[in-house]
Symmetry: C2
Subunit: 325 residues, 2 copies
Amino acid sequence: MHNNKVAIIGLGLIGSSLGMALRNAPPVEPRATPLHITGYDQDRRATSTARGRLAIDREATTLADAVRDASLVVLATPVHEIPVLFAQLAPLLSEGVVLTDTASTKAQVCAWARDMLPAGLDFVGGHPMAGSEQSGPAAAAADLFAGAIYCLTPDTQTRPHALHTVEAMVQAAGAKPYYIDPHEHDAYVAGVSHLPMLLSATLVEAVSRSAAWKEMAPLAASGFRDVSRLAAGDPTMHRGICLSNREALLRWLTDTIGVLDELRATLEQEDAARHDAQLPHAQQVRHQWQHSAPNMRPGEDHYTQVPQVERGFLGLPRRPRKQRP
Amino acid sequence: MHNNKVAIIGLGLIGSSLGMALRNAPPVEPRATPLHITGYDQDRRATSTARGRLAIDREATTLADAVRDASLVVLATPVHEIPVLFAQLAPLLSEGVVLTDTASTKAQVCAWARDMLPAGLDFVGGHPMAGSEQSGPAAAAADLFAGAIYCLTPDTQTRPHALHTVEAMVQAAGAKPYYIDPHEHDAYVAGVSHLPMLLSATLVEAVSRSAAWKEMAPLAASGFRDVSRLAAGDPTMHRGICLSNREALLRWLTDTIGVLDELRATLEQEDAARHDAQLPHAQQVRHQWQHSAPNMRPGEDHYTQVPQVERGFLGLPRRPRKQRP
């Protein structure tokens, strides 16, 4: 990074939280120049709220104003806005600027970057595994990324300085970089993130189509609350995620319908023996997941001592390991 | 109730929490004889833990010992154990004793009661709309039922004194009695309670069948955690619930598979317009539910001032209304 200027485009939950986390990170050395973060959002109120919450140092009024002189540009918008931004940014950014994003799917974003950005710009796809069903800068928190896995999807063309810059940003935000192939990433998060979201919306949709929903709703308790929580998320963002990760999601949907068909057949046959296998298996898997150390990258528990990045604009003291809440 | 003796059979989460709530309830008048609660569980350790946590006054060593002289007997076991208990209790209980249960389905339990219990015994089916994915007396809490809706399913044969006794118990535990037809109850809770449980287990089953599950699991974050939470529940209890509420659950499963088929078709066709309808509708419904006053019986907000039961073994000061957490 050739200066200390960062631009964050999109000041929702993720962009504002990232700004807060970076502004709260301790500097590498006591007298290092602190970061200067410029923020921009199409919604002027979001920009202003983010500034009010000290997530950014300066409010930009245009995209060009936001990225002027920035060494690192972070696109923290929903996935469907990324290609529009790539087109607008391509003529604005000078050689050597590093670009990253935080969108929920990576294969399509990386393909857009290859197709739409000039060769002198370095793009590293990113996806922090942290979030909330709440949105907007008012819901942002400086510790949203603390201890979280942060997927990075460089390719063979990515130059080392770009990778170092983004990795240092991830660590400064308190998260743990995890390098993964973009297609692999998309298949995995489709299963553990987008499929749960669709199942959550499906539950709400199925019960609310009933004529008795008004009488049923008051009987819904904590079980319904938890399974339906993701349905409360922003539908425009969810739609974008689904459409940008179609193939992986379609495979998971087919598998899920298959499991539900099995359950229905079991129940139709009053087949207690098959129930004895299905539900306990799910319980056992959930139990193992729940009691595994959270936010451990594959193998991290056994093999690695994650090295700190040596160069980079900010250092990161290792945070204490969190328990899965 | 002709004396102050209550027997609680089954000292898991619900039975132990009920004991705690009743023992903590303020008496109707300062010098009223306090309740005396005898507890029994097939698992002696559960009985002993319940006594240690002051959920019961006395540990019984046999079912006969537990119900001796009791005016009110509460069966707080999983639904599949209810017919076994009815058969064992039928010769043990004398005329006028009131019997209730807390099982998750009501039509089959009420049918068992009609078929298996002698005419002089009064049975009132019950189901508190409160719980936790945790189980056992160690997870019990005196405020588990505070402000919760508590379904009661009497029929035309139920005598008034039985109804008054059970209603007073519900209010003493801090909950709100809600009278409902047992079949209606089962159809509703199948949608808002048992269907979420099956969807939760289905999610875990679908993703854990993947060869990549070990790599995916670390990327699972709070969305997966919430949607999969119910899969962590006791599979034996869940199996019993499913089998005792087959018809209602089968209808919901069919509806749910229908919604998932629609979602899959939408995604296959990249049909953004249909996404625009499905996900926002689910979000809107979830939002309405989330922001409705919790634990309000249909119409309660608008019309009723719930009358306190005048006779009964314990009075209940109205608890402050809780926010949906």
